[in-house]
Subunit: 368 residues, 2 copies
C-alpha cells in the first residue's frame, strides 16, 4: 500500500486554507464570539419572506434541487433585464470561480489579480497551476489600469477585479469599470466580482452587455441578501461561456431549500432596501467610533469597513488580538500596507456597542 498517485500539480500544492472560520477560533477559546463581524457576513440576515420560504421548503429536502435552477434564473433574468441563457447559478461565487478557473487555466497560464486581493480566487488559480501575477493596489483601491496593462504584458487568460473591492471596501465608478471592460486585451477574460455591488453607490455598476465574450460578472445572495450560509451565487456572461459551465459543473450541487430562499429573497426588494439603510447607518457609526478613538476609516462601498489603525501591520494585529479576546470577531487584510487596518462588518446596534466598548481598551493594550 502506498499513497494515492496524485497529479504532480496537486502533490505540489500546500494544504493552505483561504480563511480560518470563526467556529475554529470559538472552539479554541471555548466560547462563542459575542459579535460576529469578521467574515464579511451580513448580520441583518435574509428577508423574513425568504426565511419563511426556506422553512416551508425544508420538508421537501428529500428531493434534489432543480439542476437547471430554472425558476431562479427566470427571476434573475427579469430582475436584471437580461436573458436566462446569460445566467449561470452555482454554489456561491467561490464555487463558480472554481469552475471558471478550471475551464481556462492550465499549469503555466497567466492570471492577473491584485496583490492582497480576494484570496479564494487566488486559491483556485494556484489549485489549477496558473501563474498568478499580482498587481499592487493604488493606495486603498485596486488599480484597473495597471491590471489591464499587466494582463496585456503577460498574455493573461483571466483578469480578476472586485468592484467593490474586498478586503478594502473601496469601489470605482461605472465609468472606470466600463473603460476597463473596453480595454480587456485580446485573449483575456475579465472576471468582475460584484459580490458587494448592492451596497455600493448608484452608478457603480455599468449596465450589462452580454454580447461581450470577454467579461463575466459575479453576483451573490451571500452579502446584501444575507444568505452566506446558503451558497447561492450567479454569473452573468455571454451565452457561450454560460453554457460551458454545463460541461463540468456539479449539476445537482445546489441545495434545494437555498434555491427557494434565494427566489424569495430576490422578490423582497423592499427588505433589501431596508438592509442597505441599516448597513449605511452602521458604516457611519463605525466611522464615528473610529474617529472617537483618533482613527480614520477607508471609504466603504460594502457592508464592511476597514479602520486604519494608524501604524503598521504588527500594531493592527495586536489591536485585532485584543478585540478577539474581548469576544469581538473581526479580521484584517493580509498584505502591507493594507494590514495597517482592521476590518469589520456593519453590525447590529448591539454588535457595535460591544465594539465601541472594546476598541479603546484594545488600542491601549496594543500600544502598551
Amino acid at each position: 500500500m502506498t499513497e494515492p498517485r496524485y497529479t504532480p500539480l496537486v502533490a505540489s500544492l500546500p494544504s493552505t486554507v483561504p480563511f480560518v472560520g470563526p467556529e475554529t477560533q470559538e472552539r479554541i477559546r471555548e466560547a462563542e464570539f459575542d459579535a460576529r463581524l469578521g467574515a464579511n457576513e451580513n448580520v441583518f440576515g435574509p428577508s423574513p419572506r425568504a426565511i419563511r420560504a426556506m422553512k416551508i421548503a425544508t420538508p421537501d429536502i428529500w428531493k434534489y434541487g432543480d439542476p437547471e435552477n430554472f425558476d431562479l434564473k427566470q427571476a434573475l433574468a427579469a430582475h436584471h433585464q437580461i436573458s436566462p441563457e446569460n445566467i449561470v447559478v452555482g454554489e456561491g461565487i467561490d464555487g463558480l470561480l472554481g469552475y471558471l478557473v478550471r475551464m481556462l487555466i492550465e499549469p503555466g497560464d497567466a492570471v492577473v489579480t491584485s496583490l492582497g486581493g480576494y484570496p479564494t480566487f487566488s486559491f483556485h488559480v494556484r489549485g489549477y497551476g496558473g501563474d498568478l501575477v499580482e498587481v499592487p493596489y493604488k493606495g486603498d483601491y485596486e488599480d484597473p489600469v495597471a491590471l489591464i496593462e499587466k494582463a496585456g504584458e503577460v498574455g493573461a487568460k483571466l483578469i480578476y477585479l472586485a468592484n467593490p473591492d474586498n478586503p478594502m471596501g473601496t469601489s470605482h465608478p461605472q465609468s472606470v469599470i466600463s473603460a476597463v471592460i473596453d480595454a480587456v486585451p485580446e485573449g483575456a477574460l475579465l472576471v468582475l466580482d460584484e459580490a458587494y455591488i448592492e451596497f455600493a453607490p448608484e452608478g457603480t455598476a455599468p449596465g450589462f452587455d452580454v454580447s461581450r465574450d470577454n467579461v463575466i460578472r459575479f453576483r451573490t445572495f451571500s452579502k446584501a441578501y444575507g444568505m452566506a450560509g446558503a451558497r447561492v451565487g450567479y454569473g452573468i456572461a455571454a451565452a457561450g461561456l454560460v453554457q460551458s459551465f454545463d460541461k463540468i459543473r456539479n449539476h445537482f450541487g445546489m441545495n434545494r431549500v437555498a434555491q427557494a430562499g434565494a427566489l424569495e429573497a430576490l422578490a423582497d426588494q423592499k427588505y433589501l432596501s431596508q438592509t442597505l439603510g441599516l448597513v449605511a447607518k452602521a458604516r457611519v457609526r463605525i466611522g464615528q467610533i473610529a474617529a472617537a478613538n483618533g482613527l480614520t476609516v477607508v471609504p466603504s462601498s460594502t457592508n464592511f469597513v476597514a479602520i486604519d489603525c494608524g501604524a503598521d501591520g504588527a500594531f493592527a494585529k495586536r489591536v485585532l488580538a485584543a478585540l478577539l479576546a474581548r469576544s469581538v470577531f473581526i479580521r484584517m487584510p493580509f498584505v502591507a500596507p493594507h494590514d495597517r487596518c482592521i476590518r469589520l462588518s456593519a453590525g447590529t446596534q448591539t454588535d457595535l456597542d460591544l465594539f465601541e466598548q472594546a476598541l479603546p481598551l484594545a488600542l491601549t493594550e496594543a500600544r502598551s
Copy 2:
C-alpha cells in the same frame, strides 16, 4: 472580442448532463408528476428532528457554514467508531467524487469502472481527461474480479465500485468487498461508493480499516437519511488522503442549515430504522406489483427496484414513456442488457397505488 481561451481539454468536452431532472420534464409537460420515483430519492424524507433542526437553523443562514464541518465530523466519527481525521465532508458524494478525480486524474490516466455504472463518476473522469475503461457487469451485478483484473492490466489510478450498485440495486456481501480491497493493485485507489449501504442487508459493508492508503469509501445523507436536496456526503479514508482534499476543496461550500440537519438526522437512528422498514415493505410491494403483471424484479439492496420488463430496451422505453404520461416519474438504466428494466424508488403507499394502476396500462400500451 473572441471566445474565452478554454483549456484544450474543456474545449473538447461535450455539454452533456449526467441526468435530466424531473423538473425539466415537468416544465415540458406543464404539470408536476403525481409520483416522483425516478431520481433515487427517498420519499420518506428526513427525520422530523432533522427538519426541526433545519428550520431552527434557518434564520442563522446569514453565517457561513463551519468550513471544518467540525461537529458533523465528530458525530460521524463517534457513529462509525473512527477518528475525525479520517472523514472528509463535502457537497454530496457527487461533489466529493469531483474533488477526488481532480486530485488524481490527468489526461490519459486510466480509470476503471463498470459499463453502465454511475454516470456522474464517469462525467467527472471525462471532465478531467481520464481514460475511462469500462468493464461489463456480470448479469445484474458489478463484477469486482473483472474490475480488479482490468485495473491491474491498464495501470488504473482509480477503480470505482458501487456497493450496493446503482442503477441495478444489487450488492455483494462483505466477504467479496473485503477480497476486493485486499486485491487492489499497486498504484490504484479503490473508490467504494456506499451511498445506499444503509438499505443493504447486514453484512454488506466490511468494517473500516483507515490504515489503508488505497481505499476511500463514500457515504451520504441523500439516500437513507432522506436529504438529497441538502448536499451532504462524506468520505472515509486514510488521514493523508482526507487532508489532501483541503488543498482544493471549496472550504466554504457547505450549506450551514444542511450541516445542522445532517447532524440531527444522524442522531435520530430510530427514525432511520423506521425508514428502512418502510423501504423494505415498499420493495416487497413493488415485487408484488411486478409479479401481478407477469414481470420479475432484480433483487434490490437499495431503496429502488429495477423491474425486468421481459423484452429489450426499446420495449422498456415505451413502458417508461407510458408511465411518465400517467404522471409517474421513473427512470431506466442506460445500457443493454440492463435497459430491459425500468427502475423506481420505494414510494409511499399513494405513490405505489398510482404505479399499480398505471403499470398494466403502460404495458398494454407498450405492447400495442
